[in-house]
Subunit: 116 residues, 2 copies
């Protein structure tokens, strides 16, 4: 998608700290981290939001989670804990119209400190 | 898993408001909702946390997201927006040791009101 920030990162037109990539997904550090570890895992295919996901894209959605789990291990936060978060639409606070899964950890993110 | 709260819901030993079920996943309303819509989508198979997910379980993880997306449509919050959230470990605030994806919506959940 020509004007999509994340497609430009996928294409290399905008630089990012790429931590992982395969045929389906790519992962890079968030430039405005909310915690010591804050990584975005996104599908390479441009899918604007979860509302646009079809049944046949379940494998890509699963890959987002499996890759995030592996990155949590690599970042040494698997045992301390982490959140995975996908925002959709205005109420969900989605800011870039290309699905992105947040992997956030490295500090306590429990309800009292950081409510949903 | 004998002592798992969510396995008891899956088995019908504990009642819950079941909103969806298929071969892989089941979804029910959260008994302590944080927003007008608060649904948990879980794998039928007992998987304690994301740290225990294997590569071969990508399809189940994908199903959690695809089902949540459909439930958002059914609950009429697809256009207004929603969050999907999976907590893992202490820092992530995981409370039940059976993977559960939160679908939360029906009110603004943006960064200022509800930080991560």
């Amino acid at each position: 998608m020509k004007d999509c920030l994340f497609c430009k990162i996928i294409n290399g037109d905008i630089s990012a700290e790429i931590l992982y990539k395969d045929d389906l997904v790519i992962a890079f550090t968030d430039t405005h981290p909310l915690a010591p570890v804050h990584i975005l895992v996104i599908p390479k295919e441009h899918i604007a939001s979860l509302n646009d996901v079809t049944d046949s894209q379940g494998d890509v959605m699963g890959a987002l989670i499996v890759v995030a789990k592996k990155l949590a291990q690599e970042q040494d936060i698997a045992q301390s804990g982490y959140k995975l978060l996908i925002r959709t639409g205005d109420d969900g606070g989605q800011e870039v119209q290309h699905i992105h899964l947040h992997l956030i950890g490295g500090a306590p993110l429990t309800e009292n400190i950081h409510p949903v």
